[in-house]
C-alpha cells in the first residue's frame, strides 16, 4: 500500500483525523489557509489549533451542475464545529433534501480522493451524519 497525503494541509491524517486551524495569537480568529496577517486584527502571529471533529450543519446546497470534471450531485455545506465554521461536503448520505437538513449533527470522515502516478493516495475529508436514531 502506498503513502497517503492530505488533500489540504489543514487536514491531519492518522488514527484520529482532524482539522487544524491557524489561530491568531492576538484575537483568536481562525483561518484554514496561510495568511500574511490576521484579517480580523492585522497581527501576524498564528498558532495551530485542533478543530473539533463533530458539529452541526448550518447550511448546505445540493450541487447538480458544476465545472467539468466535478462529479455531481454532491452536498456542499458549512459545519459549525463548536464555534469554528468549516466548509466541507456532506458525505455518506443520499444527496437529496429528504436526507440532508440544516441543524443535523455531523462528524468528520475521510476518504481517498485519488492516487497519483507514484501510488500516493490523496485523502480528503467531508462530514457524515452522526447516527442518533
Amino acid at each position: 500500500m502506498g503513502q497517503q497525503v492530505p488533500l489540504v494541509d489543514y487536514l491531519v491524517l492518522g488514527d484520529r483525523p482532524h482539522l487544524v486551524a491557524r489561530q491568531c495569537d492576538a484575537c483568536g480568529a481562525r483561518f484554514f489557509d496561510r495568511r500574511n496577517a490576521c484579517a480580523s486584527c492585522a497581527q501576524t502571529e498564528f498558532t495551530g489549533v485542533d478543530v473539533p471533529t463533530e458539529g452541526e450543519l448550518r447550511t448546505f446546497t445540493i450541487v447538480a451542475y458544476a465545472a467539468p470534471g466535478v462529479p455531481v450531485p454532491f452536498v456542499a455545506g458549512v459545519v459549525d464545529c463548536d464555534g469554528t465554521s468549516v466548509r466541507g461536503n456532506v458525505i455518506n448520505v443520499t444527496p437529496d433534501p429528504e436526507h440532508v437538513r440544516t441543524g443535523m449533527k455531523v462528524q468528520l470522515a475521510t476518504y481517498v480522493v485519488g492516487t497519483d502516478d507514484e501510488g500516493t493516495e490523496a485523502v480528503g475529508f467531508g462530514f457524515e451524519p452522526v447516527e442518533v436514531d
Binding site: 488533500l7 446546497t61 465545472a67 456542499a76 433534501p97 497519483d116
Partner: protein, 402 residues
C-alpha cells in the same frame, strides 16, 4: 439643489439579451452616447470617464470606448469589483465630481455574456496533478472545488439563503421559488428584459435544478448588455436648462463597502454584513429611512439571495424576511416593490452593466418615465448590487423637486 449635491443627468440601458452582431465596444458606445443624449450634453462636456467590463478587465474598455465616442483627453478609470463593477464605475465618477476635479462625469458598464454558461467554479476542467504536491494557500494536492464545498455561484448563494432559513425558519424551496415567480411576473412589463415571460410556480420548481434550492429560472440570466450614466454637480446643474433640471435625479447616497471580518466569512462569503453596513451608511447619508422607499432594485443574482437582502437592507424587521415576502409586500402592487424590472433572474445580469442598470430602473420611475411598469408617484428609490470578493454598492435616489 445644493451646489455639492450629485445628480444623475442622463442614463440609459441597452436591451439586455443576445446581441451576436454587436461587440463589447458597440454596446458600451450605444449606452454611453444614449446616456449623453438623454442628459442633453456632448462628450466635450464630460470631465471624467469610469468604465467597467469584467470579462476583459485589463483591456482598457474606457479607452476603447473613447475611440468610438470621442477622444477628449479626459482621465479614464477602468474599474472592477465583480458584480458591483458598474456601481463602482458610477461611484468613481461621482468621487471625481465631489473632489472638484470636474463637474460632469460618465460611468459605463458593459458585458457580453450570452451563452457563457455556468460562472464560478472555474468553468473549465481542472486536472489533478500527476504527482501530488501541495500548492497554494491551502497546501492542496488536487482541486478542491466539489470536494471541499462548492465554488459555483448558484451553490454559494444557495447556502446563503439556506443559512438564513436555518437561523430564522420558514425558508422552503417553494418559498424561494415564489420569489422567482414574482420577478418573472414583473419582467412581463419590461421590454428591455432578456426574458419577459411569466413563469408559474410549478414551471420554476420543475425546471432544471442547478444547486438546490435554486433551479435554472431562479438563477441570474447570463446575457449581453450595457448601461451608462452621466453625473453632474449641483452647481453645474443650476446652470443647465429647466428640462434637464426637472429630469435630473438626485443621488442622495452613494456608498461602497467591502466585508469586514466575520467568523465564518472565510468559508462562506458573508454578503450580509457589508450590505447592512452599506445600507446603514446610505440611509444616514441620504437622511432617508427604509419606510421612505417607493421601490427597491436589489441584487437577486439568485432567488436565495433576494430573501436575505430584504433583511440586510432593513426593508423588514431583523429575521422577518420570510413573512415580509409572504405578505406580498415586495410585489409591484405591494407596500415595498422590489425588482419591478424583473431583477437579475429575468431582466438579466450582464455583470458590469448591472450596477448601473438597476439605477436606470429606479431613475425611470422617479422621473415618471417607466411606462407600463411605473410605480405611481415614486419619490425615493434604492439600488443595491453586490459582487463576491466582496463589494457592495448602495445608491439612494430621489426625484427632482424642480
Amino acid at each position: 439643489m445644493a451646489s455639492d449635491d450629485i445628480w444623475i443627468l442622463g442614463i440609459y440601458m441597452t436591451k439586455f439579451g443576445k446581441h451576436p452582431n454587436l461587440d463589447t465596444v458597440d454596446l458600451a458606445a450605444e449606452a454611453a452616447m444614449a446616456a449623453m443624449s438623454d442628459a442633453q450634453v456632448s462628450v466635450r462636456d464630460i470631465g471624467v470617464l469610469a468604465a467597467g467590463n469584467l470579462m476583459s478587465p485589463g483591456g482598457g474598455i474606457g479607452q476603447q470606448l473613447q475611440k468610438q465616442i470621442g477622444q477628449t483627453g479626459i482621465p479614464v478609470y477602468n474599474v472592477a469589483n465583480a458584480c458591483a463593477t458598474g456601481a463602482t464605475a458610477l461611484r468613481t465618477a461621482i468621487m471625481a465630481v465631489k473632489a472638484g476635479e470636474c463637474d460632469m462625469g460618465l460611468a459605463v458598464g458593459v458585458e457580453k455574456l450570452a451563452g457563457a454558461g455556468l460562472l464560478g467554479g472555474g468553468g473549465r476542467a481542472k486536472s489533478d496533478h500527476n504527482v501530488y504536491e501541495p500548492h497554494g494557500r491551502y497546501g492542496a494536492v488536487a482541486t478542491i472545488d466539489g470536494r471541499i464545498g462548492t465554488e459555483t455561484m448558484p451553490g454559494v448563494f444557495a447556502q446563503i439563503g439556506m443559512e438564513y432559513g436555518h437561523r430564522y425558519g420558514g425558508a422552503s424551496f417553494e418559498m424561494f421559488a415564489r420569489i422567482s415567480e414574482k420577478n418573472h411576473s414583473h419582467s412581463t412589463l419590461n421590454p428591455l428584459a432578456a426574458y419577459s415571460k411569466r413563469m408559474s410556480l410549478e414551471q420554476i420548481m420543475g425546471d432544471v435544478m442547478i444547486a438546490y434550492p435554486n433551479t435554472r429560472p431562479m438563477c441570474s440570466a447570463n446575457c449581453d448588455g450595457a448601461a451608462a450614466a452621466v453625473v453632474v454637480s449641483g452647481a453645474k446643474l443650476k446652470t443647465l436648462g429647466p428640462d434637464q433640471q426637472r429630469r435630473a435625479v438626485k443621488v442622495s447616497a452613494s456608498i461602497l463597502t467591502t466585508d469586514p471580518w466575520e467568523e465564518a466569512c472565510q468559508v462562506l462569503p458573508d454578503v450580509n454584513t457589508l450590505t447592512r453596513n452599506a445600507a446603514q451608511q446610505a440611509y444616514a447619508q441620504a437622511g432617508v429611512a427604509p419606510e421612505d422607499l417607493d421601490l427597491v432594485e436589489l441584487h437577486d443574482c439568485f432567488a436565495t439571495a433576494e430573501l436575505v437582502h430584504y433583511d440586510n437592507l432593513m426593508l423588514c424587521a431583523p429575521g422577518e424576511a420570510v413573512p415580509f415576502f409572504e405578505s406580498g409586500a415586495t410585489w409591484r402592487d405591494g407596500s415595498k416593490p422590489v425588482n419591478v424590472s424583473g431583477g437579475l433572474q429575468s431582466k438579466g445580469h450582464p455583470i458590469a452593466a448591472t450596477g448601473i442598470a438597476n439605477i436606470w430602473e429606479v431613475c425611470h420611475h422617479l422621473r415618471g418615465e417607466a411606462g407600463d411598469r411605473q410605480i405611481p408617484d415614486a419619490k425615493v428609490g434604492l439600488a443595491h448590487v453586490i459582487g463576491l470578493g466582496s463589494a457592495c454598492g448602495v445608491h439612494i435616489l430621489e426625484r427632482s423637486a424642480a
